[in-house]
Homo-oligomer: 191 residues x 2
Amino acid sequence: MSLPHAILTALLEKPSSGLELTRRFDKSIAYFWSATHQQIYRELGRLEAEGLIRALPSEQPARGQKREYEVLPAGRDELARWTAASQDPKPLRDVTLLRLRAAAVVGTAGLETDLRRHRELHARQLATYLEIEQRDFPPGKDGPQDRLRHLVLRAGIDLETFWTQWLDHALSEFAHLPDTDGTGRPGAGED
Amino acid sequence: MSLPHAILTALLEKPSSGLELTRRFDKSIAYFWSATHQQIYRELGRLEAEGLIRALPSEQPARGQKREYEVLPAGRDELARWTAASQDPKPLRDVTLLRLRAAAVVGTAGLETDLRRHRELHARQLATYLEIEQRDFPPGKDGPQDRLRHLVLRAGIDLETFWTQWLDHALSEFAHLPDTDGTGRPGAGED
DNA sequence: CAGCTTTGTGCAACTAGTTGCACAAGCGTG
DNA sequence: CACGCTTGTGCAACTAGTTGCACAAAGCTG
């Protein structure tokens, strides 16, 4: 239940049309919350129906015609309520870790190449984040809002750093692992 | 599309009934892939229908009667195929980061308490993982399977470490932040 | 001005995960 | 033996996200 709140945040930062929102999601918000344009349009409809946002009055509203939205007071209230409300962190769910665990049972054949690719993707993402950090958070810029946003970006940077390092570690393990081929029997118990 | 493969892995490690699987998920697999018993039963049905697993022949199959499953060769093949297949890492999606970004716009009121709670939850999870590490991976135990499983646990440990530290950092920022109350206007642009 | 690309909005169908509940068998206890 | 608790299996309805596609207007290009 977070997409509507992501949209409210983005619209408060700047009123936008659906496509503009989509682009801003791709470019900045996707670092911690990704969404497709279909999801965004659907959600804009719902938010408008609930009276949390409204379309800026413009010429004639028609299909294929731009519609800009802005947040209404009720929307801001809802966002503030949601931000302050207690929420449980949801458990990790990571396919790569699962694949590694599976590899312990059926063998590591073929896995290494893809892990290497992941390592590069994470390294590239990290580089992108570091550029953004340099550009958007120069030494002087440290108002309250900047500090909070910087904190969020920092999480992204540190997570990508973690994954690159962890994958390096994993790959180096692979290097001196006997090349299991899928016939290995489970030896030890588990938990 | 990973739950079936998580189940195949678990069943290869040890043939089990639905409830046993559920418990093993809670206790060990949930560290990187959580699932409810309803999901597991549904998936067991599908896997059986597809011929990847089968119920061990037992007394009379009836409702409320235990059914143990084991993986068939086709199931092992499918798991090996899936493990080796290339998959894109999916983008981060984290509610806490979103809340912080929202707080930059509507104010941080009420957020601190919950972040403090998160910090404790992550610290506790970390402690649990460290116990498991001590118990299951003593210095001697380093066969190929152990190394891979240890690697997975290590990811869990390092991620929990990261979150505890990051939350500490966030909370210390909060300490010398003017106590915004939700009326703060957005000052800077974004991207 | 015909045809192509870009900008913009949106529906429909599907997949995966969550929530709530039902039902059966077995076991222990007053 | 009636009652409640535990073990065990499972359906139904819902929510959130993904995928594929349709359609309209505006601008550009030969």
